[in-house]
Amino acid sequence: MLEIKNLHANINGREILKGLNLTVRPGEIHAIMGPNGAGKSTLSSVLTGNPAFEVTHGEVTFESKNLLELAPEERANEGIFLSFQYPVEIPGVSMVNFMRTAINEQRKYRGLPPVSATDFLRMMREKKELVEMDNKLTNRSVNEGFSGGEKKKNEIFQMAMLEPKLSILDETDSGLDIDALRIVANGVNKLKSPANASIVITHYQRLLDYIVPDFVHVLYDGRIVKSGTKELALELEEKGYDWIKQEVEGK
């Protein structure tokens, strides 16, 4: 589904990703861990086409399309969704209007007519229930004045609405209380299918108790330096990253 080969990317002339490789197949869940500043969020930005980043080398294919040629909105409408590490507040744009526009743009992209008012309201209601999101939040402007946890829930709510093929969750667990973590993880699990896949970026093995990954990767200094199964996450939790750094630098 997603194939990343030797990806190099810069921001403001500084190289952050330094030859990253990753393959994701349908139905898989990949966890990416790694120290602060390693480039995890940069990877999500580059995959979703954030114009602040410049790809200098490498290729990314998504469902046999050259992803790097597509505009951010095209990538989104092809089915890539990013749950932002820091969701953006958009004062004056209501959640309802935002969501309806997004849904209809996706439908337009796929040659479908706009969603009817009743279907849209039903979808909103169902998905809100899925992530147990308060009604009052969807009556406000996008993320405006939402608490940290509410913003993360809102990301999963949007994901549920848009039903992506590939979802990238960038530290969706940070800032969530224990109940919210369970709710969000359940939401993610319910949306899982053999046809779609997830990349879950996290610092904590705890999330992986709920969302069980098929693979765990360590991203360090712009590269994936180690891959394994869910046991690797436990090992990292216990020993930290120093041994990985030593391994990498020792080479």
């Binding site: 114009p51 602040a52 909105e73 409408n77 969704f81 004062p91 935002f98 997004a102």
Partner: protein
């Protein structure tokens, strides 16, 4: 530039006077003398730094000092494009009040007088004489002086004590001419104590010639009265729209002015509020959506002469292409105007480097127990918000539109006529989309 008008006045002042209301002639020679002395404003003047009239004033505009009738029936060419507004509807064609023929206007409450200044000067001379020119004659302003010399008529509205108009009054200014044309009109609005009125002024142009309008509006807002003044400009690029709104506020009165420029050529809105009683509330809001070579200068001045009053200002501009915007927020708080609360905000988005915005807060505060603040920003659309929306599949163009629309939303919220508010949302959205910027109701425009 002034020469031709000075000569015109000297040769034809009798014709001007004979075709104008008596009450309007009282100060005419004095206005002319002032204009003769100071001329049209130039960019050398601090208050006109950002409105350059040189080019426009070089044009040879026609004037209609003989008051020849204009062959147009506005009721036929203009259907109100604010559905459900149920307004009392009046027209001024160029500078002449058009005879009222709308049945709906029969429902005006007793004692309310709406008509042309010259008609009312005949039927109720004492009313017009008491107020006319009382604010404008104190101004040392070339445009106001010119208006005083040449304006022969205008719109008049009087709302007696404790009468509250439950429907808005709508004044449509239509410019109609086969040659480049200038219109001067002088409006007078009087609200007695406890009265309430909402006035919506719409500026439209009908013919593809160059227009210059120079309108002065004096408003007297009595104690406890509530006055709302909405000005919507939707004219063409060959229009120069100069307007001066002078408001006198008595104790415990409330004033709201919201001036929205969607489409224009060169516009200067001067809004001066004189607060002359305690416990007044004043709100000045405005919005500009500009592209191509549009120019809009909103010059506001609020004089807090008495204690315990509050004022707030919110002006927002979205400027594209080579458009130019200017905002001045002059705030004066007199020595004994204690407990004044005054807040001023001007926010601007420049969509292109070629667009220009000038913003100038001008605070003079002589009282010590006051709460005053001002803030101005000039920026671009929020890149991170844009990316966030695009990540949800919303194309860049649409995402920008949503952000711009959101940006202007709080100015639209300062509209207290629901039908107008809904209509304005639609017009602003259409304007931002670059679709039809003229009103749909205007048959001639289409």
């Amino acid at each position: 530039m002034e020469r031709q008008y000075i000569d015109l006045y000297k040769s034809y002042s009798e014709i001007i006077k004979n075709n104008a209301a008596q009450a309007m002639n009282a100060g005419r020679d004095a206005s002319f003398a002032l204009f003769d002395k100071i001329g049209f404003p130039t960019t050398n003047l601090e208050n006109y730094k950002y409105t350059d009239l040189k080019e426009v004033l070089a044009i040879d505009f026609g004037l209609n000092i003989q008051r020849l009738p204009i062959p147009v029936n506005p009721y036929e060419v203009f259907q109100c494009d604010v559905p459900g507004i149920h307004s009392f509807l009046y027209f001024v064609v160029n500078d002449a009040f058009y005879p009222v023929s709308d049945k709906r206007n029969d429902a005006l409450p007793e004692g309310v007088i709406i008509g042309s200044v010259s008609d009312v000067a005949k039927s109720h001379p004492e009313l017009v004489e008491k107020y006319f020119g009382k604010l404008s004659s104190t101004k040392q302003d070339g445009l106001v002086a010119f208006n005083g010399a040449f304006a022969q008529d205008g719109f008049f509205m009087y709302v007696p004590k404790n009468v509250q108009l439950d429907r808005p009054v709508q004044l449509i200014n239509i410019m109609r001419s086969d040659v480049d044309f200038m219109a001067n009109s002088h409006n007078l609005i009087v609200l007695e104590a406890g009265a309430k009125a909402q006035l919506l002024v719409c500026d439209h142009t009908v013919d593809n010639v160059r227009f210059l309008t120079n309108r002065v509006t004096e408003v007297f807002v009595g104690e406890n009265a509530i006055y709302e003044h909405y000005k919507l400009e939707n004219t063409h690029t060959k229009t120069t729209n100069l307007s001066t709104l002078l408001i006198d506020q008595q104790a415990s009165s409330q004033v709201l002015s919201n001036v929205i420029t969607l489409h224009n050529g060169l516009t200067r809105n001067t809004i001066e509020i004189d607060i002359n009683g305690e416990h007044c509330e004043t709100t000045l809001a405005g919005m500009v959506i500009g592209d191509k070579n549009q120019q809009v200068d909103n010059f506001t001045s609020i004089l807090h002469n008495k204690p315990n009053c509050s004022s707030r200002e919110l002006f927002k501009y979205v400027l594209d292409d080579f458009s130019k915007g200017a905002f001045t927020g002059k705030l004066y708080v007199a020595r004994d105007a204690q407990k004044t609360a005054a807040f001023q905000t001007n926010k601007n988005i420049l969509l292109q480097r070629s667009a220009k915005m000038r913003t100038k807060p001008q605070l003079e505060i002589y009282a010590d127990d006051v709460k005053c603040s001002h803030g101005a920003t000039i920026g671009q659309l929020d890149e991170s918000a844009l990316f966030y929306m695009r990540q949800r599949g919303i194309p860049e163009k649409e995402a920008k539109l949503l952000l711009m629309f959101a940006f202007t939303a709080d100015v639209i919220d300062f509209i207290r006529i629901d039908a107008l508010k809904d209509r304005m949302k639609l017009l602003v959205e259409k304007r931002l989309r670059g679709e039809l910027s003229k009103c749909e109701g205007c048959v001639i425009c289409q």
